[in-house]
């Protein structure tokens, strides 16, 4: 287990011992993925192959971003088609999924299961079969890596929203998944908190899929996928995709599609 500090991001990224240079990036593969919730088709015929280390997903509310995140993490199975990470079906093989993929929900209150910080971090590790003592030791190592050793015994309800989000990130990182999916983890956070969390993320060795409303957060990413009405509208290098995305969002912003009801 590499115990490098998440700061500064540049040093972490160029660390020769970093996992990115040792292990190959996980390969996301979606083939003909359609997902229906009741009558509503949330995702429609998505084909995708990606192995970049930093992948961004943009799209409007209701475009299927969150559903896609849950699908990639194996929390929901597609109605049609297949979704795999490095050749393994995440929805079927949950045991393998724990090592392959971690997910950070939009609202940390939907993610935190335990009342005490160290228990929350330790849970995923015992789930992976580690003995309790070892899980506790690793939880503390994770807290120390972020200079948060003093949080160990804190009750989670005493944490601020940004602190809860960081706790969720530490709990996911402790399990050392090859890929981390983040579903708009920064919405509702103030600018300094967002910047601090973003800096922590920069230092993460694992591959990242980040869902965001904020094109600025994805500017340096290797690839950006733009979802619209459950389909891939654009897919490619961050710069051009984000420019067209922003232009379209501004165009739509001048219209009044808020009055349209779905269904």
């Amino acid at each position: 287990m590499t115990m490098q500090s998440p700061l500064p991001p540049k040093a972490a990224a160029s660390d020769p011992n970093a996992r990115s240079s040792a292990a190959p990036s996980p390969v996301l593969k979606l083939a003909g993925v359609t997902l229906r919730l009741g009558q509503h088709e949330v995702l429609s015929g998505i084909d995708l192959r990606a192995d970049e280390r930093r992948i961004g997903i943009v799209g409007r509310n209701g475009s299927g971003k969150t559903t896609l995140a849950r699908l990639l993490a194996g929390l929901v199975a597609p109605t049609e088609g297949t979704a795999e990470i490095s050749g393994v079906d995440m929805a079927k093989d949950r045991k393998a999924a724990l090592r392959k993929v971690g997910i950070l929900f939009q609202n940390p209150d939907h993610q935190i299961i335990f009342p005490i910080v160290e228990e929350e971090i330790g849970f995923g590790l015992t789930q992976m079969g580690l003995p309790k003592a070892e899980a506790a030791a690793r939880s503390h190592a994770m807290l120390e890596r972020f200079d948060k050793a003093h949080w160990a015994k804190a009750p989670v309800h005493s944490l601020s929203q940004g602190q809860k989000q960081l706790l969720c990130l530490m709990a996911v990182l402790a399990m050392e998944p090859a890929l981390i999916i983040l579903d708009e983890p920064f919405s509702g956070l103030d600018i300094p908190t967002r910047m601090q969390l973003m800096r922590y993320l920069d230092g993460v060795e694992a591959s990242i899929v980040l869902i965001s409303h904020d094109p600025a957060a994805l500017r340096d990413f290797d690839r950006v996928i733009w979802l619209e009405a459950g389909r891939v509208r654009e897919d490619g290098a961050a710069g051009p995709v984000l420019t067209r995305f922003e232009r379209q969002m501004r165009l739509w912003g001048e219209e009044d599609d808020l009055s349209d009801l779905s269904g």
Partner: protein, 199 residues
Amino acid sequence: MISLTSPVEIWAHRLPAWLKLAALSLATVCLFAIESPAVLALAVAAVAGLFLTGGRVFLAEGFRNLRILWTFLVLIAVWHGVTGQIEAGMAIALRLLAAVALANFVTMTTRLGDMIDVVSFLLTPLRRLGLSTRALELAIALVIRFTPSIARKGALLTQSWRARSPRRPGWQIVMPMAALAIDDAEHVAEALRARGGLE
């Protein structure tokens, strides 16, 4: 909100949970065997002394945790005052005070995880029979995790009601609160699945 393990670390935090729980059980049995109010008053004083070994802040916290008990104590005192059994009333009130304070002392000095470990050990026979006890252990943690969170949501609903009504909210917020609790349950189920579920 709900205070469990005390943030003030004292000597008792370092004792094993099973020892504290065993001593608590023994002490409670003794308390119920004692009839004399004078001896029970001594027991209350001894428990207070036990709290004092943790320092003044810890003692104050111990007092605060007994707040909920006062109504019952007053009720018992009034009832026995009316029926003329003052001595019996004193004994019951003092016994209750000592027993609850002592139980709180154990709660305040024991990490939840250690408490669950003891429960898990005691449930070993059930596991031998092939029943899974992990769900029960998790349930304890979930109750403690979500009690403050649901209470806060209730407070928010109350505010939302007040923002649009001159009357105080009553039973009307029970349904939305129940819906929110179900919502929470679905999110936890998903969070559990994301980290390997319960198999």
